[in-house]
Symmetry: C2
Subunit: 398 residues, 2 copies
């Protein structure tokens, strides 16, 4: 096993090492929650200031043309596309992942009107289930089936998360997509917990949704994105048929006529200030080789697993190929353990009922961070430091 | 009729005169498009900077608790409530007006399951129609009826804009609400073109939606809001049943259980940076007496109408009581007329097919601005200055 000096040497040799300097990272804290909210890129404040003062303050309503606001959902979509294996004109940015799930699944069931089953997965993030439940209840007559049942021949659509938000287990996207589509169902992937850390490729799927505030570092509540395979651009229906998806929004016609291409999945006025922050974040992603990103993520994750060893029960796959970019462990008192770690400068998070998560953001997490975090974790457990009563109190958002 | 000096005197006596200094307004331009995108409040850049650098950069994921991000949809909703006649716990902020329309209308039809008619109005902004069309098509079996038919006894819900986005005609909200509800239908108001300029009161209605980037000055693409009358809080269903509307979002249960109260209409992760800008804008609104706002809006609108006189055909009601806060005229070549005005420092806008709009934002529009704008307009028409070919070119967003 490595020692700490060897970790420092690996950091010095890391081909991605220079990206870390582009982020604002807190002093004295090892931030392993980039899988929940990514760090602030150093140049983002200036880009947001420009949107507020120069574009809005300086151009006022003229910003819709002069500052490119109107096209942001498409221009930002084109910048995200390479991160998920998609091409230009296939991704639209806006709204939230939950709303994108509603758009994707409602469009899918309309494309398979004779099928009345929607397949979901208990490993999906709960909001994906909730959105499907709301949609199925509104439409009436739909069965929601668990993915584990493995039957898709009467399913309209299968919605899965590429990476499990708790255990980090990664689906085999090409194999599952092929299996689902061979059964005549449509495939929708949620890549919230993979985009920006893995070599994501959803190009064979029918739909994909994802968020930009985790590994992509676009800021709290940054807009989501929706990928629609071009084979559906002519026929897929956007149930949220707002004016920005209209063929001629500024003709102010009474009837909805969908735009050509991916624009029909735009809904309405884009959140320009939140999008400015995403625009800044994507400047960095243009320079990131995804193969190196994935390789570093796997190496750091495996180092964490090795260093923790038997001190905790691993909740993630031991095989890095089958894992996303966070590493999870079971502990019956996971919450106070996480609090004790935070108190010692190691920030991970807790997911009910018993999951400790440590997110590895390969752009700014170092080998030495993993070394120090794992050793602090083992010490907190060995010495039972988490049994201090001040670690028991729960905030509103955990 | 007044002269220019009298306008200057009226500005000096205006009880709202000090608000103008709180906004960044362009030099040499009379900005009469505050009904489309409100001006930048001077303190907003610092509030947004704080959200980016201090909250996100400084607290990272801790901002969800420490900076109050998680509750923003409700805390901002409570700050908007007094502007629409609502009380605390009745308004939720987030998403866009189009999405709020989908939430309100889909909830309403579920509350009146035996009725299969949705009433809309050609005076609604088109996206309201489009969203209803998308919803009706998805649900199947619904008739969309025009408000002008005047029959509501078999209608589930009536959706109207308080103020017509083209003509500025204002509905009699209490009378229409009473008539619709007496017929057993639910009433939903779109107050996009009235909130922040009129004495809006939707408290008797069932639902209301509105945007914050027009008269409220919250910035390009700032989030929308949704009012739900408390009589429906226990029974209304949010079809966009995302995790932030769940009773216990951080329990990560598999089944959706709606939260109590207005929170069940939250959907998912709020757009924090766009909301920071709204938060700043609302600081101003706490100090604005709505009766004075409405009185000034009416006085300025009537002055504009009087000064233009017979030079153009009025598209708005001549009676200020029946008008919103913009004034509109017909002109068969409206687009080049607007371009010629912009070239002379008067910014209005054009809405197809033939409407010239001039928005009066009572917090920063002055009597002398109206005087100068109207005189420039009359000159452009009298001297046919709009017939220059460079005014014919149309940008993407008009």
């Amino acid at each position: 096993m490595l020692d700490r000096d060897r970790c420092l040497a690996l950091d010095a040799d890391d081909p991605l090492r220079e990206f870390r300097a582009e982020f604002v990272l807190p002093e004295g804290v090892i931030y392993l929650v980039g899988n929940s909210l990514g760090a602030l890129p150093r140049h983002t404040p200036e880009r947001v200031r420009r949107a507020v003062e120069d574009e809005w303050g300086g151009r006022l309503v003229g910003g819709w043309n002069d500052a490119g606001w109107y096209d942001l959902p498409l221009t930002l979509g084109d910048r995200i596309a390479p991160l998920i294996g998609a091409g230009p004109g296939q991704v639209v940015v806006g709204n939230t992942t939950s709303i994108a799930v509603h758009q994707a699944v409602s469009a899918a069931v309309r494309l398979r009107p004779e099928r009345r089953v929607i397949v979901s997965d208990t490993r999906n993030f709960p909001t994906d289930h909730y959105m499907i439940q709301g949609l199925a209840q509104a439409l009436g007559g739909y069965e929601i089936r668990d993915f584990a049942e493995g039957r898709f021949d009467d399913a309209a659509v299968v919605l899965l998360s590429e990476v499990d938000y708790r255990t980090s287990e990664r689906h085999d996207v090409p194999a599952v997509t092929a299996r689902v589509r061979e059964a005549g169902a449509l495939m929708a992937w949620d890549v919230c917990h993979s985009v920006g850390a893995l070599d994501v490729d959803v190009s064979a799927a029918d739909f994909a949704v994802g968020c930009t505030y985790k590994y992509l570092n676009a800021g709290p509540g940054a807009p989501a994105f929706l990928y629609v395979n071009p084979r559906h651009h002519a026929d897929a229906v956007n149930v949220l048929s707002g004016w920005h998806g209209h063929a001629e929004p500024f003709a102010f016609e009474e009837g909805y006529r969908p735009a050509e291409g991916i624009r029909r999945f735009a809904v309405s006025t884009p959140h320009v200030l939140s999008m400015a922050s995403l625009d800044a974040a994507l400047d960095i992603w243009e320079r990131v080789p995804l193969d190196l990103l994935r390789a570093k993520s796997m190496a750091l994750g495996s180092l964490f697993v090795d260093l923790v060893g038997d001190a905790l029960e691993l909740a993630s796959p031991a095989d890095a190929e089958r894992r996303g970019s966070h590493v999870s462990f079971h502990h019956p008192d996971g919450f106070p353990v996480v609090r004790a770690l935070i108190d010692r400068g190691v920030q991970g998070d807790f997911r009910a009922p018993d999951i400790l998560r440590f997110g590895i953001a390969p752009l700014y997490t170092r080998y030495v961070d993993v070394w120090d975090a794992a050793h602090t974790l083992v010490e907190v457990l060995d010495k039972e430091l988490w049994k201090d009563e001040r670690y028991a109190r729960r905030p509103a958002v955990t």
